[in-house]
């Protein structure tokens, strides 16, 4: 596997403040994800889908984008990435509890179906890989208008078996569109392992087949992902076309709140994965290079906890949607 090693040189264009902010975003995503699972187990959130283990990859990609300028067409594990783009914990707690103020859908969709026009995050549904084609269309519009914007779209490795994924990569390469295809490969599509999903070792092996640069990067190494994503995003912004970027992640939790991965993964597998938790890796890395001092990580964690407590208090107090609104927004009104 052509895994890039992160090195201080890669992070040279990131300030110490940015590095601390990256770590904080990872922690905020993890703690919020954990809180949502707790709400599910308490019977308060009917459904939850977790992105734990993907935070480093998502922060690495998110920081390679220009917030408020570039676009994201996400998938359901991108809790941390959509927050890097500008969404807040409150938004997702509103969604989990089915509140009217859920900005993704007004509590019409299951939680984890992200979308926010204000943050250039395209609305997403449940079918897998349909979003790939939307990103290609968004990139078509950028190119047509001569804008220097880039769109990132993400999917799991299972989604790369869908026809829409193939059609999207092919089209984007033909037209050299400013899109980055991020595959967050966590080795499992619900219970089906990668070996039953494709006959190649890495999703990125398919890049040459589309005439597209491709890279596999350690998705647990935030700075390595950042470096690879910067390269891809910069290439797209220069008008040099799309990139296939595969981030090898880990799925720390089951597929969703309705799944139990202990039924199809070994205890050893699950234990080894936890030892490589990307949050711990990044904390140690930042402590080694002196970006985080002793106690900083705790302070950041407590600060994130306070943000989530306040967000949950607000979501707890928020109203459910008015039944009178259920028939609205099928077509443009007025």
């Amino acid at each position: 596997m052509a895994v890039s090693e992160s090195a201080p040189a890669i992070a040279a264009d990131l300030t110490q403040d940015q590095l601390r902010s990256m770590y904080r975003d990872m922690v905020l995503g993890r703690l919020l994800d954990e809180r949502i699972l707790v709400l599910n187990r308490q019977g308060r959130a009917p459904f939850a889908i977790s992105g734990q283990g993907h935070e480093a990859a998502q922060v690495g990609v998110g920081y390679a984008l220009r917030r408020g300028h570039d676009w994201l067409v996400p998938y359901y594990r991108d809790l941390t990435l959509v927050m890097v783009m500008g969404m807040e914990p409150k938004d997702h707690l509103m969604a989990s509890l089915g509140r009217a103020q859920d900005p993704n859908s007004g509590a019409r969709q299951m939680p984890g179906h992200y979308g926010s026009r204000a943050h250039n995050i395209v609305t997403t549904g449940s079918p897998v890989a349909t979003q790939i084609l939307h990103a290609v269309g968004v990139a078509t519009a950028f190119k047509y208008r001569g804008e220097d914007k880039v769109v990132v779209t993400s999917v799991g490795e299972g989604g790369t078996s869908e026809g829409d994924w193939h059609e999207g990569l092919n089209w984007a390469a033909v037209h050299r569109l400013p899109v980055v295809f991020l595959v967050e490969n966590n080795s499992y599509a619900i219970s089906v392992p990668q070996s039953l999903q494709m006959a190649v070792a890495h999703v990125a092996d398919r890049g040459p087949g589309y005439g597209m640069p491709a890279a596999t990067v350690d998705g647990g190494d935030c700075l390595a992902v950042y470096a690879a994503a910067r390269e891809a995003v910069d290439r797209a912004r220069r008008g040099e076309g799309p990139t296939l970027l595969e981030a090898v992640c880990m799925r720390l939790q089951s597929h969703s709140s309705d799944d139990d991965q202990r039924r199809y993964r070994s205890p050893d597998d699950l234990a080894q994965m936890r030892e490589r938790d990307p949050l711990e890796r990044f904390r140690r890395q930042l402590e080694e290079i002196g970006v985080l001092s002793e106690g900083d990580a705790d302070t950041i964690r407590k600060d994130c906890q306070r943000v989530i407590e306040a967000a949950q208090a607000e979501a707890d107090a928020a109203a459910p949607p008015d039944p009178a609104t259920a028939l609205r927004h099928v077509y443009q009104e007025g």
Partner: protein
């Protein structure tokens, strides 16, 4: 005013709208240098260039899915599916994505786009099973979509302009048999026909024939023949099958008390069933006969050989026979 065929009216509408609004793009298979397999985009590539008239890979889901992305990013794409028969690979994008984008985002996002596709078969077309289907009922079932089926050159232009300017996804289905068989006056410039409004194609007091698309012309021929015998048939051209023009359907049913609904598409669970249900629910007291329907038989599509195709297709004779049955009731 200029005399135009149906396909010329469509081409003209695309050209006018692309000149007026630089957000309008056309994409599909062979729409570029060739100008489309039926010539509906002829000359557009030469005038507007490859950035606005995009020859796509042979991938229907992508044609629709990429168009959705363009619409989300502020453009007004017009996607061409070469034949309606080949739209099933794009159904996920149409039903699960385009149709649901406004609702699922609680009005935050919208998807203003047009999906054009030639449909239908019949005499002199010989498209057989995979170049002749009338699949409109599949789309008319889906909230979030609009489904438009013009029957004349003037309506083809006026409805296409309205479809491109519509804030929601519009399926625009063109009957192949009409492309070059009709020529009529088409108004110049801003000729907008509203989506969701039907047209009385022929007035009559005795019977109502509710239909759309190419079948309108077959119904008109049948109605003229009936007129020679003093039976006046009103022909209502629906123009749009979602949303249906309920008011006009109810008005003609109450006026005549006898209704035949006919379409080329398969009869069972078709658009005609919905029209018949509206009449039954709203006009029961005014009806002098049960609502009758005429449509494609229980076979998958129109067969190739002429003797087989004739069994499937309606034509004025079958419509006239049904109308006479209704008149005698």
């Amino acid at each position: 005013m200029a005399q135009m065929t149906y396909v010329e009216a469509i081409r003209g509408a695309l050209e006018e709208e692309m000149r007026r609004d630089d957000r309008v793009l056309v994409m599909g298979e062979d729409v570029g240098a060739k100008g489309g397999v039926f010539g509906a985009t002829a000359g557009l590539f030469q005038e507007f260039g490859e950035e606005r008239v995009i020859d796509t890979p042979l991938a229907e889901a992508a044609i629709v899915g990429v168009s959705i992305g363009c619409a989300l990013a502020g453009l007004r794409p017009v996607a061409e599916i070469q034949f309606l028969d080949f739209i099933p690979p794009a159904m996920d994008q149409i039903i699960n994505e385009a149709a649901k984008i406004r609702y699922r985002s609680n009005g935050d996002w919208s998807c203003p786009m047009v999906i054009r596709a030639p449909s239908g078969g019949g005499v002199h077309v010989h498209g057989a099973l995979y170049h002749s289907q009338s699949l409109e009922a599949l789309f008319a079932h889906v909230p979030g979509l609009k489904v438009v089926i013009p029957s004349t050159p003037a309506d083809a232009k006026g409805l296409l302009l309205s479809a491109i300017r519509d804030p929601d996804p519009v399926c625009f289905f063109e009957h192949k048999a009409l492309y070059r068989s009709l020529r009529e006056e088409v108004p110049d410039g801003e000729h907008l026909v509203p989506i969701g409004k039907s047209r009385v194609a022929r007035e009559g007091a005795d019977l109502s024939c509710i239909t759309y698309g190419a079948t309108v012309h077959e119904a008109l021929t049948a109605a003229e023949r009936m007129g020679h015998d003093g039976i006046e048939v009103e022909v209502l051209d629906l123009r749009t099958v979602r949303p249906l023009d309920r008011e006009a359907i109810i008005a003609t049913a109450r006026k005549t008390g006898k209704v035949l609904v006919c379409h080329e598409a398969n009869l069972a669970v078709g658009v005609g069933a919905e029209v018949a249900a509206i009449v039954a629910e709203e006009c029961f007291q005014q009806l002098d006969a049960p609502v009758m329907r005429l449509g494609g038989p229980e076979v998958p599509a129109i067969p190739f050989a002429e003797p087989l195709a004739e069994v499937y297709c309606l034509g004025p004779e079958k419509i006239e026979a049904k109308l006479r049955q209704l008149a005698a009731y």
